[in-house]
Symmetry: C3
Subunit: 295 residues, 3 copies
């Protein structure tokens, strides 16, 4: 902590953790989320056939984390929908991405440099959500460590955790996989983040919340921006996870493989290994091709 | 409004909107709903194999709107089940429709003139439910316009919105479609009704609630009775929807088609066009044949 | 009641119904439940591929009844997870059953004499849960007879009622059946138990709650122990059910068949008759073979 004091990082972290996410960061969150929805095969046809279903999917992509967290804590699942301005902003983004003439808005925000900025900003919102979720659960259950972790986790992962049911809304059903069986990087990071924030909340982690928010945001934003820029779907956790799995659960060590994976991430060869790829892990190239074909 | 005053319609509307729906109108609602359940392929076998599953399905058909609205507002999903008399009445209807000797009760209520009266009475209950749902949500969230619309919508649509899961209870799974992707007339009308009642509730629509209930009930009852009598599944909204979709979402204009559809509604030729027909839209003839075969 | 007084059974029942279930009986409940999870085809692979999904399934097996009852009464579905000690105990059991070196723990608890004791102890917990569920619902809805029955039922049946969704978590989807369509013995007994405890709670059954708990526990424990020992999946209710179904629902009488079934329960010939066997009904032999193959 002394080093941080010297660098005046504590004050910066304090300031950083207090930044209001609405409307700028939330806007970036909505744009990136609905962009991912448009990448999903079939979503463009759905937007033509049934705008109501498409709008509902977009709302799940933008507010899925609030819906899940409200369900987990026993509140109304649509409680967050009383924030009319948030809903209208997200609806406007949905309309522009799916129905803008000449597909102009989509082309703008999918342009790599702009997208990288938006992706980074989305992670700021994610970290704030995890911290808020853990704090909220702590308020309701003072010693409910598992409840804090679960709430922070669903707040960070959002729609990914209910992707099976979100797909069902679009008439797609893939029961052979789900986000828990094949965790993507953001889902895994949300789980680890929720554990960290829970440890901080019950004072087992000797660090201030603002510092943790700052560090975790930096880590998430950097990772996601690098992964998006390199069209990669390797995870920085692979090495550690492989060792922990080996020690705890007796899984065969996959260090060699993981090592290669980490350094030659965009290798197409790694694709057939995981047949059930999570949506946020699909290489950007494939996605764009799919989205274009769907137009 | 002056015309209405002159015709003394205001007082009539006031009186009409205050009619208690229990037990007469609710009874009609239960009969028509469980009749639709019996039309579903496979439901008669389920009633033989597992009366508990059949009873649960019947309860979902009768009280699905309350269950969904309670879930949406964060209450107990079975809260409505403390109305023992309603549950017992609906259970009696279920028993008579499925197990009455010689199928007498079913034959009576499925007799067209009687059925037309019951169908009309069902729409009275639907309108009351939408109005009550919007009012209830308004009470909980004063400025939650979206919450009001959603609550009114689920109150009006009922089991249709959870038909995928209701079918699952009977061992049927059709993931390729759902009521949001292919909205039937009652579901669409419930959505538009919920929007109208929400506008009224926040005083953006310069009309009294009783008048709105009266007009909307008349519209719904007339439409459904005519559609049932003509074995039609065209929707009176097709023309307007087609233009709005064209302007807002760039869908190709289907005016010609819609026009034909509207005037030659019972044409069998229109059937293969929509492979995923909603249950309330199936022509009555087909249904009865199916139900008879299932016996 | 006089006979019972003479035998001093009333006091014994009083004492028996007050036994705390944590930690001893709950431990047995967790062990047997997670044992059944390990018997499920594919669950061992899931525990290798995704420990998080496996842990979640184990938690559903151990606490599914609390989750469902909390949902039914409108509380937070993870409310029970604030009991950290229960969660940690169940997690330890999960870890030992799935990852213990040499599979030692599994071999111990799956050893028939030990398993019979555990199975008997599990039924003690089940009865306590049904009684507590009915009592809890009675507290919330004084005259909600149906709510009491439903709450007691889900408290007794637990994960079985949501087995479709529990399987989905493991990437398995069997929509053609569910626990309501093909009720297993414990699910049926929970339903009848919930009805009995509801009748007792509203004083329509002239018997004290402790006596009812005592008798019902004895019946359940004996039935399950005998069924486990004989590798049987016949139900002691078959004869009565067949007559009641015949009288109420006009089902064809299956007395002859049921009689044979009851006495020659482990006969392999009865297996092809019910293609969709519930998990708790699978003969122990088949299960062990499956579990061994999966290793």
């Amino acid at each position: 902590m002394e080093v941080m004091d010297a660098l005046n990082l504590g004050e910066f972290a304090q300031y950083f953790s207090k930044i209001p996410t609405f409307p700028l960061f939330d806007l970036a969150y909505y744009i990136v989320s609905i962009l991912y929805l448009k990448y999903e095969p079939g979503s463009v046809e759905v937007s033509r056939r049934s705008p109501v279903a498409s709008w509902l999917c977009a709302m799940l992509y933008c507010f899925g984390s609030y819906i899940l967290a409200d369900i987990m804590l026993g509140h109304s699942p649509i409680d967050y929908f009383h924030n009319n301005s948030h809903i209208i902003l997200a609806s406007a983004v949905w309309y522009l991405i799916f129905y803008c003439p000449l597909n102009l808005f989509y082309k703008c925000v999918a342009f790599l440099p702009i997208k990288l900025v938006l992706v980074g900003m989305k992670e700021v919102v994610r970290t704030h959500k995890i911290a808020a979720g853990v704090h909220h659960a702590h308020h309701a259950y003072h010693h409910g460590y598992f409840i804090m972790i679960i709430t922070g986790y669903v707040k960070g992962s959002g729609v990914a955790l209910m992707s099976n049911f979100e797909q069902l809304l679009r008439g797609v059903w893939r029961p052979e996989t789900n986000e828990i069986l094949n965790m993507s990087f953001p889902t895994k990071a949300s789980l680890y983040g929720a554990i960290l924030f829970t440890l901080q909340e019950v004072h087992w982690l000797p660090v201030s919340k603002s510092t943790l928010i700052c560090i975790f945001t930096l880590f998430m934003a950097t990772s996601k921006v690098v992964m998006t820029a390199r069209h990669s779907h390797g995870s920085p956790f692979t090495l550690v996870e492989s060792w922990v799995s080996h020690l705890l659960f007796g899984s065969p060590l996959a260090v060699e493989d993981a090592h290669n994976h980490h350094h030659t991430a965009p290798a197409a060869a790694s694709a057939p290994a995981s047949p059930a790829k999570s949506k946020e892990e699909l290489s950007e190239g494939t996605r764009k091709r799919k989205a274009k074909k769907a137009e």
